[in-house]
């Protein structure tokens, strides 16, 4: 049998250090989550407010569990340090197992079910028929936005065959992501490097990519959606506060991922109409 050092004094020092460490760590963490020195920027959509309240709900529940677990650990470490008394022989307690299993199921699954209503608003409900539609196209390493113009219809892009044929005829810059100028619907389409939307009006995005997977992300909208090549992914929202907000790519897309940004601008109706006129003029 090996010898083990009976070190009660030593075990009090270590135990106290560990418990105090855990307590200090818990207090600092709770303080920071209350003080919020770095936090979400204010939300500018109603669904964003719902997401914020679900985040808050989750924070309270996980916060209580976090504090209970860390302080519980701190307590058992200190209370049951080696004090020259035998340990209690216990193989467990089936009643407790059942109780805390059921409690955890109710808490976790309940929280999860509660979260679904905000998700449903974003993705289960379709966009309204009259929504302003904006095509969002990501590429390495910039965003472009297309508006359908006064006719309300998006024109066709060139097909791959058309583009290849144009290249054969000498135009080396032809690609299938350019407007087909023979399509009358395309004549009034407006392509812009920044995205503007009118305030308090539902907008529907058609999110696409030219090359690799990117991700459309505006913090204040609380919305994010991958832009997947080969897919057109729809997302709708209503912005409720005017202002300029940063739009950044949130899916690794190559060496320029860090600089693939743009501006998301929310304007009142008058300013938005003017902005559309200005953009149309400069096409």
């Amino acid at each position: 049998m090996g010898k083990r050092k009976r070190d009660c004094a030593g075990s009090t020092t270590v135990a106290a250090t560990f418990s105090i460490f855990l307590a200090v760590f818990t207090i600092i963490t709770v303080y920071l989550f209350i003080a919020k020195p770095w936090w979400f920027p204010p939300s500018i959509t109603e669904v964003g407010d719902l997401i914020d309240s679900q985040f808050h709900r989750t924070l309270i529940i996980t916060g209580i569990v976090f504090v209970a677990a860390q302080l519980g650990l701190a307590w058992v470490i200190f209370r049951f340090r080696d004090q020259n008394k035998p340990a209690a022989y216990s193989e467990g307690n089936n009643t407790m197992e059942v109780v805390w299993t059921l409690a955890t199921i109710v808490l976790f699954v309940g929280l999860g079910l509660y979260a679904e209503s905000a998700w449903a608003i974003v993705h289960f409900t379709p966009a309204q028929p009259g929504d302003l539609q904006i095509e969002v196209v990501g590429q390495q390493f910039q965003w472009n936005f297309r508006y359908a113009g006064p006719d309300g219809k998006f024109g066709r892009y060139k097909t791959v065959e058309q583009a290849l044929a144009q290249r054969k005829r000498g135009d080396q810059s032809a690609t299938p992501w350019q407007l087909d100028t023979t399509d009358p619907d395309a004549k009034d389409d407006i392509i812009t490097p920044i995205m503007a939307v009118p305030v308090n009006r539902e907008v529907e995005l058609l999110i696409r990519s030219m090359d690799v997977t990117h991700s459309f992300f505006v913090r204040e909208l609380r919305l994010k959606q991958d832009a997947v090549p080969g897919m057109t992914i729809h997302m709708h929202f209503t912005a409720t506060k005017t202002g300029d907000y940063e739009l950044a790519c949130a899916e690794l897309c190559g060496l320029g991922h860090y600089r693939m940004k743009s501006t998301f601008r929310v304007l009142n109706e008058t300013d938005f109409a003017q902005w559309m006129k200005d953009q149309a003029a400069s096409q």
Binding site: A163, R219, K224, P229, L252
Partner: protein, 587 residues
């Protein structure tokens, strides 16, 4: 189950340096080989992350190896290889193939694994995969830049950097899959077939249960990754289009070699593997935590049966949650809802384990060895890291948090710290058995405190970065204004704090390395059972002879955690203590 042990075919002890230490079929040598591979890899992985942290806050510095200031593609290559090497070469090797190989046979009373030659092959195949991976740094264009997740089409279309490296990465990973499948087969067969008489399933140490469930996960998951790698390789070199749609234009060039594929298909295949993979990384650590907590509380594991069910539950549910990595991917939002409920459910067995760890400590008589400190730290870290998962498991809350530093905080606390603490606990616990010598406990304790404080300083602030919207995998913090990098304000200051904490914490790991080497070389001689532990490895010499039990077949009479049994003079009953010996020890 077996009424007599199926004894492993034991070959004579090998002679000569090559057969003893290089191409050995002895599971103990192979376990140490895996461990040393992981040790090398973790220092390589940490070196990559040091360069990443330096570049993020001091991008103007001229760095050696980078030819001056680091370029964005070099940063992305660093993060790709950091993730790949840490997840595969550290977290999938040391806990399972390292300690599992060494101690599974001994803890079940066997002389070796069921297939010793396949065991040797699985190590050298893993070694080959590491060589191929590391070679990616040295080929033209350097290491790949698509992240350890290699999302397509980025990992298929030529980027002008990391192209040859990406091909080597895929090949290296496929080789790793083959090695892992071999290992998983070996573990399962050994566990099913070679248990000593009296060692029923419900008398297995929780370490063995963890290695067993992990091996089943590995067997079922790595095949999918292997298939995915083959398809990815074909897309890259053979003109197929499993993962690339048509109509792509990359920097003005029409991509005509591909059409008809789906980028989401790669994500489904990768994450179907990827989620069980993270449980492969953590389950052995949970087994070690239970084992060490029990041993140094001198108390049985609280709720042993519940712990076994929880391990199995985590393993089973782990195959049904992969879509939570894909809520924002363009996958059906209805599927997202289903994955979300499954993911919240998997929190339940994890919570049960935490309650039972606390229950094990309750009423105990705690000895604060270094191994115990790391096991206690594991519990704290698992709670913290696990709870942030509850946010990400809800698709609506995931909307603002996906692909931000909140995710980086979550998986680092769970994998890059808790699982690592499992490895540290196992090292300090089993070092005397493996090498016949002790590591220095004082240095070990300093290592523990610096690391425990350090990792919380590194990863807790990342939660706030993510909440504030800081995206992941950004090579440069100066382009997007809200990151504060251009003016060194706001979130940038948090990044700075994290970098300093990382430098200190990583430096502290040198203490561990020095202690490890010094222990092997000059450590105090260790007896057979320095910790007064109960399981079978503590009944054989330190280190054990080639065939572990010197020709005898042990018989097991007790469960694995009979500590402080009332009425006994000794506060532990070894699993193979005969009933007569138990009676003689009554007070």
């Amino acid at each position: 189950m077996a009424s007599h042990a199926n004894v492993a075919h034991v070959h004579a002890a090998p002679s000569g340096f090559i057969r003893k230490y290089i191409f050995s079929v002895d599971h103990k040598v192979i376990g140490i080989q895996y461990y040393l591979l992981a040790l090398f890899s973790v220092f390589l992985g940490m070196t990559l992350s040091i360069f990443m942290r330096i570049h993020l806050v001091w991008p103007e510095i001229n760095l050696p190896f980078f030819g001056g200031q680091m370029k964005p593609e070099q940063y992305i290559a660093l993060l790709t290889m950091h993730g790949t090497i840490m997840v595969f070469m550290v977290l999938t090797t040391a806990p399972q193939s390292g300690f599992g190989n060494y101690f599974l046979p001994i803890q079940i009373g066997a002389a070796d694994m069921a297939f010793p030659v396949i065991n040797m092959l699985s190590f050298w195949t893993t070694f080959l995969s590491l060589v191929v991976m590391v070679a990616a740094f040295f080929v033209e264009g350097g290491a790949p830049i698509s992240g350890w997740t290699a999302y397509t089409p980025l990992s298929i279309l030529k980027q002008g950097v990391g192209d040859a490296g990406q091909t080597l990465w895929v090949i290296g990973l496929a080789i790793f899959c083959a090695a892992s499948l071999m290992g998983a087969l070996n573990f399962i067969t050994t566990l099913v077939d070679l248990r000593a008489p009296g060692l029923s399933l419900m008398r297995l140490p929780l370490t063995v249960w963890a290695w067993f469930v992990t091996a089943i996960l590995g067997l079922l998951a790595f095949g999918v990754l292997l298939a995915a790698c083959v398809l990815l390789l074909l897309d890259r070199v053979a003109g197929t289009s499993f993962f690339v749609p048509g109509g792509l234009v990359q920097t003005g060039q029409i991509v005509s070699e591909h059409s008809g594929g789906s980028p989401l298909l790669w994500q489904h295949l990768f994450w179907f593997f990827g989620h069980p993979e993270v449980y492969i990384a953590i389950l052995p650590g949970m087994g070690v935590a239970s084992h060490v907590l029990s041993t140094f509380s001198r108390k049985p594991v609280f709720g042993y049966r519940a712990m076994v069910y929880a391990l199995c539950g985590i393993g089973f549910l782990g195959f049904m949650v992969w879509g939570h990595h894909m809520f924002i991917s363009g996958m059906s939002p209805y599927t997202a809802f289903a994955f979300s409920i499954m993911t919240m459910s998997i929190g339940v067995p994890s919570a049960i384990k935490t309650f039972n760890w606390l229950g094990t400590l309750w009423g105990g008589r705690i000895h604060f060895t270094t191994a115990m400190l790391f096991a206690l730290g594991f519990v704290s870290l698992f709670v913290t890291g696990g709870l942030s998962g509850l946010f990400l498991a809800q698709p609506s809350v995931d909307l603002p948090l996906h692909d931000t530093y909140f995710v980086v905080a979550h998986f680092h606390l769970i994998m890059g710290v808790a699982a690592i603490f499992g490895i540290f606990a196992a090292t300090y616990f089993w070092f005397p058995k493996m090498f016949g010598k002790f590591m220095n406990e004082t240095i070990g304790k300093i290592h523990f405190w610096l690391t425990f404080a350090g990792v919380y300083c590194i990863f807790m602030p990342m939660h706030f970065l993510g909440i504030a919207g800081h995206m992941r995998r950004y090579a440069d913090l100066t382009a997007v204004d809200f990151l504060g990098g251009a003016k060194h304000i706001g979130l940038w200051k948090v990044q700075y704090f994290i970098s300093i904490a990382a430098f200190i914490t990583i430096s502290a790991q040198l203490l561990f390395l020095a202690n490890f080497i010094w222990g092997i070389w000059k450590g105090k001689r260790a007896p057979i059972n320095p910790w007064n532990a109960t399981t079978l490895e503590w009944t054989v010499p330190s280190p054990p002879p080639h065939d572990n039990f010197a020709g005898r077949v042990p018989t097991v009479y007790h469960g694995p955690y009979e500590f402080s049994v009332p009425g006994q003079k000794q506060d532990f009953i070894p699993q193979d203590m005969t009933p007569e010996e138990v009676l003689r020890d009554r007070s």
